[in-house]
Symmetry: C2
Subunit: 337 residues, 2 copies
């Protein structure tokens, strides 16, 4: 048996055919949703297409590292969707449970004229109402963890199964801030970083300024074990990073073609965490400094800029690493004062 | 008689007392309003205070270069306001007309809770309804011109008095886009750059995306003599530069203390043009490349970040060059991917 340590995108056809085991730079694990989305935007519509936080995250992260997916789908998960995984051999699906008697999570949303806001048309929770998917034994050594948006109790449960974790970052949403605040606060006091939308940061802290809100989060949930950084996502207006050592800010990539913003936040997180996994491999959790976070967020920004160019995963499935690298260079130059 | 060529802020007390004539790096001229503002924000209020596009612009620009002001006030212009000019010896007021029988322009505005939008409470045009102030003979050699927001016909009239102009940039507003579009379009086909708000760019072009809107402006008003760059201001969300050679983007400075956003756009333009005047001195209008514009906009961003910290000109009047330099360094580091 051959084993090689390398980013997945460098794997040759020969290696793939011979079944060479490729180890990514640092074991990144994500838990989140896989869904069947129906999306209506001013540009058009896409019904019953592949979606979910985990899918977008993994697609983006896989350009930087191998990524382990913990998620569940139902027996109704369309066969055609499996071709997604063929396109992304860097995504490890050992943690993807198929539950034949269950329904896959389904979501429908309609975007407003300016694409900045949307209405949820329907949510069919399906497997999300059942027990959370288990972390396979082979994943127990995962060092870098992303907890996509989910009930903070479920997120916390995942952590207890990952004793080797070095860096944990979570996403959340207004639903949990409103309905599970105690659990969410407990989670935030346990993890290293959080990625959330501006309005969510405001809702959580009652502070109307994104910097002030993030600073309050660091103060309230920080300390020796808790939150070390907050990434505030502002959609088309970019992102803000508040770290205990300082602040960084990025504009969004100035995109002209916005077909569907669904999954942009998860794609951003995927690019960011994929990059961070490399940094943690080199220097441990201490390597996640403000400049490294800024660089990581810039990779997330560029990954997200591709995702919004089409519905579902269409653009990410066609994306080449060389395109990502080229646009990242352009983006870095665009903001270099 | 002594003459020294230097930025005004480097002038010593000895030089000032001896009446040494200081030449700035390149003659920058601005025409715009001087007003008596009454401003109400969620942080408080300031009634009958100094304001106007020209004042904010000059205050910011004066940290980078000598700046010539062409504007008019009425006999009611409060004596106390003159102390502003004592604080800023780099502002040349030869072009400031006092018209004893006229009224100074007055404006009242009330900001909404989030400071992103405001209602105009009243506008008393006063001198703005009269003949535009004349360009003094000593200003005819001005090379770098900023036309603050005004009727595009008036802006055009100013240009005809400046035969040595090398770089001309203008601001505008929805009023002229709606009511003087033909004159505005003629102006844009004559000048080098425009600085405007996102919603104004959208109104002018009918394009909902800021990049697309700016590109259309370059296409429609560019060519050999016309528009070479568009700076789209997005307030707390930063700015976007679309130049014929490419695109650049900046976040706003992540400010926590926002007392009064009045004049932020003019302060941004002042810092930007002050920096550009130095570039034009060194290399002519051709020196205004995309990287130089980005750097100039970053200076404008930082100048504006101070202005919003207090009502009227209060913060800019106390501002030290060293504070500006320090925050600019911080800002550059914050965005350096």
């Amino acid at each position: 048996m051959f084993v090689r340590f390398a980013p997945e995108h460098t794997v040759s056809r020969w290696e793939r055919e011979k079944g060479v085991t490729i180890l990514g730079p640092m074991s990144l694990i994500v838990t989140g949703t896989i869904g069947i989305d129906s999306v209506y935007t001013p540009s058009g519509q896409a019904e019953k297409v592949l979606g979910g936080s985990c899918i977008y995250f993994c697609a983006a992260a896989s350009f930087y590292t191998k990524v382990r997916m913990v998620a569940a789908v139902g027996g109704d998960f369309p066969k055609a969707f499996w071709k997604f995984f063929d396109k992304f051999p860097a995504i490890d699906t050992k943690g993807l449970e198929v539950r034949p008697a269950s329904k896959t999570f389904a979501w429908g949303g309609k975007y407003h004229e300016n694409m900045n806001s949307r209405d949820t048309l329907f949510t069919e929770l399906g497997v999300l109402m059942e027990a959370a998917p288990a972390v396979p034994a082979a994943y127990k050594d995962s060092a870098v963890v992303f907890l996509a948006n989910s009930h903070p109790g479920v997120q916390m449960g995942m952590l207890s199964q990952l004793p080797k974790r070095k860096l944990v970052v979570a996403d959340t949403m207004d639903l949990w801030i409103n309905n599970a605040k105690v659990e969410l606060e407990r989670l935030l006091r346990t993890i290293d970083g959080v990625v959330l939308n501006y309005d969510e940061a405001e809702l959580l802290t009652g502070k109307k300024n994104p910097v002030t809100a993030a600073r309050h989060m660091l103060k309230d949930y920080g300390g020796k074990k808790g939150l070390k950084f907050v990434v505030v996502k502002k959609g088309e207006h970019g992102s803000l990073i508040v770290h205990k050592s300082g602040i960084a800010a990025l504009p969004a990539y100035p995109a002209e073609k916005v077909v569907d913003p669904t999954g942009a936040g998860d794609t951003f997180a995927g690019g960011m965490m994929g990059y961070l996994a490399g940094a943690v491999k080199k220097g441990g959790a201490k390597a996640v400094t403000l400049p490294v976070l800024l660089k990581a967020a810039s990779h997330g920004t560029v990954a997200a800029s591709f995702n919004i160019e089409s519905f579902s995963l269409d653009r990410l499935m066609k994306l080449k690493k060389s395109e990502l690298v080229k646009r990242h260079k352009e983006f870095a130059a665009m903001t270099r004062v």
